[in-house]
């Protein structure tokens, strides 16, 4: 393979799952730390939602990295019922880095964590996503956090 001719195929994957048992703040923090480190190293970006055992995640990156990563994640014993919703090529990334949104049981201290968001502070899906994909992200967020943690009431970028 000639290095210059490498056109890497970018994809994104969205799945939902259930935690096998409720994840504590410590569990989530450990996951956050590990994913931040590994994802940055592998150039994987996206977002993970967690609440009351409900999990949804969007990851984007090169297909050669993402497909095996999803295999590993889906076999992770911390969750089950992993249902893949989308797995398809994208023209460009929509997320700058990797982040995670959840309701900490002990709110203090989490603000300082890098890449952590409170559910109500999750921004609306980026306008680089197609409207169908943005709606998918809105729906998984709704499924994880419920209707109460509705997105910040600003109009989506492509209204």
């Amino acid at each position: 393979m000639k290095a210059g001719a490498l056109l890497l195929k970018m994809i994104h994957i969205v799945y939902m799952s259930r935690a096998v048992r409720p994840l504590s703040d410590q569990d989530l923090q450990a996951l956050l730390d590990q994913c931040r480190r590994d994802n940055a190293a592998r150039n994987v970006t996206g977002v993970l939602f967690y609440s009351h055992g409900n999990i949804a995640q969007l990851i984007e990156g090169e297909a050669e990295v993402l497909e095996p990563l999803f295999d590993v994640i889906s076999r992770d014993g911390r969750h089950s019922n992993v249902v893949k919703l989308v797995d398809k090529p994208i023209a460009a990334r929509s997320f700058e880095d990797w982040s995670m949104a959840f309701h900490p049981l002990e709110p203090s201290g989490f603000e300082a964590l890098q890449g952590f968001l409170l559910p109500q502070h999750v921004p609306p899906p980026p306008s680089t996503l197609s409207i169908a994909d943005a709606m998918l992200v809105d729906l998984v967020r709704l499924a994880v956090f419920g209707a109460d943690a509705a997105p910040t009431e600003s109009e989506p970028a492509h209204a």
Partner: protein, 621 residues
């Protein structure tokens, strides 16, 4: 010496040995083992009855009887408990005790030989075995009660496939007599369609030494075939060597029928959904589509995978996607029904109007969504055509009103002149004939009527159309938008581009209905006289003249026209520059009349083949 040796041997053997002498049965020789049996130390010469130790009274009595009768006696597993020290419970010990009378020749019995062999271990083992066998019998009974009362038929088959045991339920179920030959009859009761499979499956399971689980139909006593589940596990006597299979048959007929009915019902519903020429789909509680009917694929030209869980959004007209997506998320959040009118792309790229409706079904299986997209394109287009025709009629009507108004206005002057001339005529000419004077009177009356009618006409139209409405400050942009909305069919049809620029003078103080009428006529004129070789491009601008008076220009790139000397025939009623183009021809005339009536004037410049520019000087004559 030999006596001594014998005593030594007797002392050491592990069985208890003692001699009892005389009628009083006094202890003679007592070896160590016997000392242990008796418990407390034994004094030589002491009668057994007086021994303070462990010898039970019944044994003492038997000793007496043996002495009396001279007949030996052996007691098996006789219990002589070891008294507990310090209040502990005595320990049971068991001995085989032999009592042997001693006599010299025919002499009477002179004493007894007492042997005691400790059989405690054997006795305890025997007792345990006894208890075990009682327990086994109990379990056995319980097992039998259980196997015979559970609703299942239980059975045992050997490695050759012969039935060793079948519970009585089999006989109840099949109605066979207890004498029936199980192995001969059973296969015959299996439904002919299942028989070979069942025999083969159980045969291969037995050959492989594994268990089985399969379903088949067995004939019941009433002749009905019922579905049963047969499950069996092997009993291994050596590793990999199964000797028996124990199993149970459970009747699953009703469940199977139910499942079958459900499957049939679902298949029928799916068939129904697939037969309807409408886009039908279902979605999960989270709002992800999990089923599209066949027609959806046919209509969109996309497979279920290509559409994906939210892909229906991609079918909508791009301008409608965001709103449709927002409302779907709201419906999922609230459970409220979804409804909307959208254009959906067909496989050939054409968009057709659809009503999309979805409702949530909440039952014990949890919430799900059922949706349908109904093609209303034909109705929608019909409505659009009707709307266009209605707009056209309304416009013509308005134009006619305006025409009547302006015409009545314009006729006022000639009527006035006529009346003046007539007065003049009446004054200067004399009518002698009374009939003539009556005619003069009639002409006078007719003139009066004409005048009144004209005034009434003008007043009626004025009221109806609001042409006489007081002036107000109007936002040019919003009135122009309103007018363009009425003309959207023509704009779309001709692919026209209309540029509005009112930045130089955004407002105008004018009559609303008048302004609308003027803009309408100018715009539709520009659209109507478009050059068929290029899409119309209309530029509408407001401006202020040097003297600060507002003007409006409407410039098109249409056919253009020859402009003769003034008064320009363009503005004459029924003057038609382009006879081949439909239109009443009164439009420009009306514009000119309205503008003039408000103290302004209309100007036109035009180049054939390039376009025309109208300029309205609102308040400059």
């Amino acid at each position: 010496m030999r006596e001594q040796q014998l005593q030594d041997v007797l002392r050491r053997i592990p069985a208890g040995v003692a001699t009892l002498q005389g009628e009083a049965l006094r202890f003679g020789f007592v070896n160590e083992a016997m000392q242990l049996v008796l418990g407390s130390p034994v004094q030589e010469g002491q009668p057994v009855a007086e021994h303070p130790g462990t010898i039970p009274t019944d044994l003492l009595e038997v000793m007496q009887q043996v002495f009396q009768s001279g007949r030996p006696y052996v007691a098996k597993a006789y219990c002589i408990p070891l008294p507990g020290t310090d209040g502990e419970k005595p320990t049971p010990r068991y001995f085989d005790i032999a009592l042997e009378p001693v006599r010299e020749g025919d002499a009477p019995v002179s004493g007894l030989l007492l042997f005691a062999v400790d059989v405690t271990v054997q006795e305890e083992a025997r007792q345990r075995a006894h208890q075990l066998s009682i327990e086994t019998r109990r379990l056995d009974t319980r097992l039998r009660v259980l196997t015979e009362t559970v609703p299942q038929i239980t059975f045992t088959v050997d490695a050759a496939g012969k039935y060793e045991y079948v519970s009585p339920q089999w006989y109840y179920f099949t109605g066979q007599p207890p004498t029936a030959d199980l192995n001969a009859i059973w296969p015959l009761l299996i439904h002919p369609d299942d028989r070979l499979r069942v025999l083969y499956q159980s045969d291969s399971a037995r050959a492989a030494g594994i268990g089985w689980s399969y379903e088949y139909r067995l004939r019941r006593h009433d002749g009905q075939y019922r579905w049963l589940l047969s499950r069996a596990l092997p009993e291994l006597h050596a590793p990999d060597q199964a000797v028996f299979w124990h199993g149970a048959l459970t009747e699953i007929h009703d469940q199977r029928e139910l499942a079958e009915a459900l499957r049939r019902g679902e298949a029928e519903l799916r068939f129904l959904a697939d037969s309807i020429p409408e886009l039908i789909w279902t979605a999960t509680a989270e709002g992800f589509i999990d089923y599209y009917n066949e027609y959806t694929a046919e209509y969109s030209g996309l497979t279920k995978d290509e559409l994906g869980p939210t892909g229906w959004i991609n079918l909508l007209d791009p301008s409608e996607q965001a709103g449709a997506a927002r409302r779907w998320v709201q419906s999922i959040a609230s459970g409220q029904p979804y409804e909307g009118l959208f254009r959906m792309r067909r496989h050939d790229g054409r968009y057709r109007w659809h009503i999309i409706r979805a409702r949530q079904l909440a039952d014990e299986r949890g919430p799900r969504w059922f949706g349908a997209c109904t093609d209303v394109d034909d109705q929608h287009r019909l409505r659009e055509v009707l709307q266009t025709q209605y707009d056209e009629l309304a416009r013509t009507n308005r134009d006619l009103d305006t025409f009547v108004y302006t015409a009545s206005h314009d006729l006022k002057q000639p009527v006035l002149n006529l009346r003046g001339l007539f007065e003049e005529l009446r004054r200067s000419a004399s009518f002698d004939d009374p009939q003539e004077s009556q005619i003069v009177h009639m002409v006078d009356e007719a003139l009066g009527q004409l005048d009144a009618t004209l005034q009434e006409l003008a007043a009626t139209v004025q009221d109806q159309r609001g042409l006489s409405a007081p002036v107000e400050t109007l936002d040019l942009r919003s009135v122009a938008d309103e007018v363009l909305l009425g003309l959207r069919a023509q704009v779309q049809e001709s692919d026209a581009v209309v540029e509005l620029d009112f930045s130089a003078a955004p407002t105008l103080i004018y009559g609303r209905a008048n302004l609308r009428s003027i803009l309408h006529n100018l715009f539709s004129n520009a659209l109507k006289f478009a050059d068929p070789g290029r899409p119309p491009h209309i530029v509408v601008r407001s401006a202020l003249t040097e003297s600060g008076q507002p003007i409006l220009t409407v410039q098109d790139n249409g056919l253009g026209m020859e402009l003769p000397g003034r008064p320009a025939p363009v503005f004459q009623p029924f003057a038609r520059q382009h006879p081949h183009i439909a239109g009443a021809g009164v439009g420009m005339y009306l514009v000119q009349r309205i503008v003039a009536s408000r103290g302004g004037h209309l100007d036109v410049t035009s180049t054939v083949g390039q376009g025309t520019t109208f300029t309205v000087y609102w308040f400059e004559a």
